[in-house]
Symmetry: C2
Subunit: 251 residues, 2 copies
DNA sequence: AAGTGGTCTAGACCACCTC
DNA sequence: AGGTGGTCTAGACCACTTC
């Protein structure tokens, strides 16, 4: 009797446990910050080995739905995004009014800038291609909202354009770098944002303090003057769990 | 929470193995499609137990850098994104020229639509709020590029607006639904896209055939006529590994 | 002190792919 | 047939949190 039975795959135990827990989270049965049943609880409830219980929890952790806390438990994850307006926020009125762009984003919530680093560098191949120059000034910094890091950014400017100006000073003054570029007669007029989502590299995980299962959104924004001269190349890395991006445009 | 005071721990073995493999991938030492050292190889090379070798590989898999193939090995992952233009692609010339929007995106590559489903439904709370109606027609479908699913979409239209029109037929004719809305005197003129990135739910994982470690990009696009009437609410779910999104706008 | 998650070992059986 | 990854068990020691 060589005939074998159809291989009617059951889901593995750890997947079924994970599915049940996920349902409880997504249905609202378990709320933000609630404690999930721990490894011991799952071992007892389902009669499985510890590794299997862990495997089930790992699924939810890697999906970004739960966060483990050493010595304490596994918790349902909070999700409080900031709304970031792609088009509106860069409207000229924003920075000509002397306001920082971040006022537009983090309305009401406490925000801060961190780890500011300003350096003159040789441009990478890609930056050199876009900005059409070999030497750039780079402003790197980290943004925090409610004391939690949410974004990394590295703005690149053609060195000859900004050398000796406030663009390369720690404090760029009212309206920020865009207002300063305006002072120099190079007001940004057109923007391109190129956007990807992926899992973070270890450096990004550290700097943004990301739990497992949190993707990042990588944005490259290029700013052009009305004459079409590129004046800024800005690489941003956003904690995806902290953001909703919005773009408005016409047909 | 941000990582608390790092008590100068050494990295666990599995992390160090994962770090070395990641370096080989990111440095280009290992290329797309190359086979990584397997569990047995890692056990021998580092003198660790099987579970530890697996744990190291799991890190890379959950980062989206590697894909396991049963009975075969673990492979470096391919990354061939499609460029999707947020603003330009919806320019009126596109659909008034009778072209499908997808011609703009998947230039040159084979694309297809799949699992088309057209139904009249009661609007969800959110859709009802945005479209200002309780009854909607919904067009659900899946997009494929090079025979691989890359996007799910569900377009919602106010029922009274599109009842009995080509908008709710399988074939919407030249220029697609936007051209048909134009025929009805409701040409879309303004768009809003709201965008998040997160790990997929199991249903999305299945429909898009996503390997572990692949986030999705969820986009909600709302289309408005020149008079400000909302005429479409489109929920899209994109395989993040398959896309680069581009938005162009002015200051 | 007790409980939690983090790491690791040493086995086992299975389904699947490749040769 | 032999190698690969997928699942699972039954232990162990550790660091950390909570009480």
């Amino acid at each position: 009797m060589t005939e074998s039975a159809p291989v009617h795959h059951e889901l593995p135990i750890y997947r079924r446990i994970a599915d049940r827990l996920r349902d409880k989270i997504l249905s609202g049965d378990l709320h933000d910050g609630d404690r999930l049943p721990g490894e011991n609880a799952l071992m007892a409830e389902y009669g499985v080995a510890r590794a299997t219980a862990r495997q089930a929890l790992a699924v939810l952790i890697n999906e970004g739905l739960a966060v483990p806390r050493r010595g304490s438990g596994v918790y349902v994850r909070l999700f409080r995004p900031i709304r970031r307006h792609g088009s509106r926020r860069l409207a000229r009125e924003q920075w000509t009014a002397g306001r920082a762009i971040w006022d537009t984003d983090a309305h009401g919530r406490a925000y801060a800038v961190d780890q500011v680093q300003i350096e003159r560098e040789a441009a990478s191949e890609e930056v050199a291609r876009v900005l059409d120059t070999g030497e750039v000034w780079v402003r790197r910094r980290r943004y925090l909202v409610d004391d939690r890091p949410v974004q990394l950014a590295a703005s690149h400017f053609p060195a000859d354009l900004v050398e000796g100006t406030a663009v390369v000073l720690p404090d760029t003054g009212p309206g920020g770098v865009y207002a300063r570029l305006g002072d120099l007669g190079h007001s940004p007029a057109h923007f391109t944002e190129e956007l990807r989502a992926r899992m973070p590299h270890p450096r990004e995980t550290d700097l943004l303090g990301l739990p497992a299962g949190t993707p990042i959104i990588a944005i490259i924004r290029t700013a052009y003057t009305a004459e079409g001269r590129p004046v800024e190349y800005n690489e941003m890395v956003l904690d995806a769990a902290s953001y909703v991006l919005q773009y408005d445009f016409d047909a």
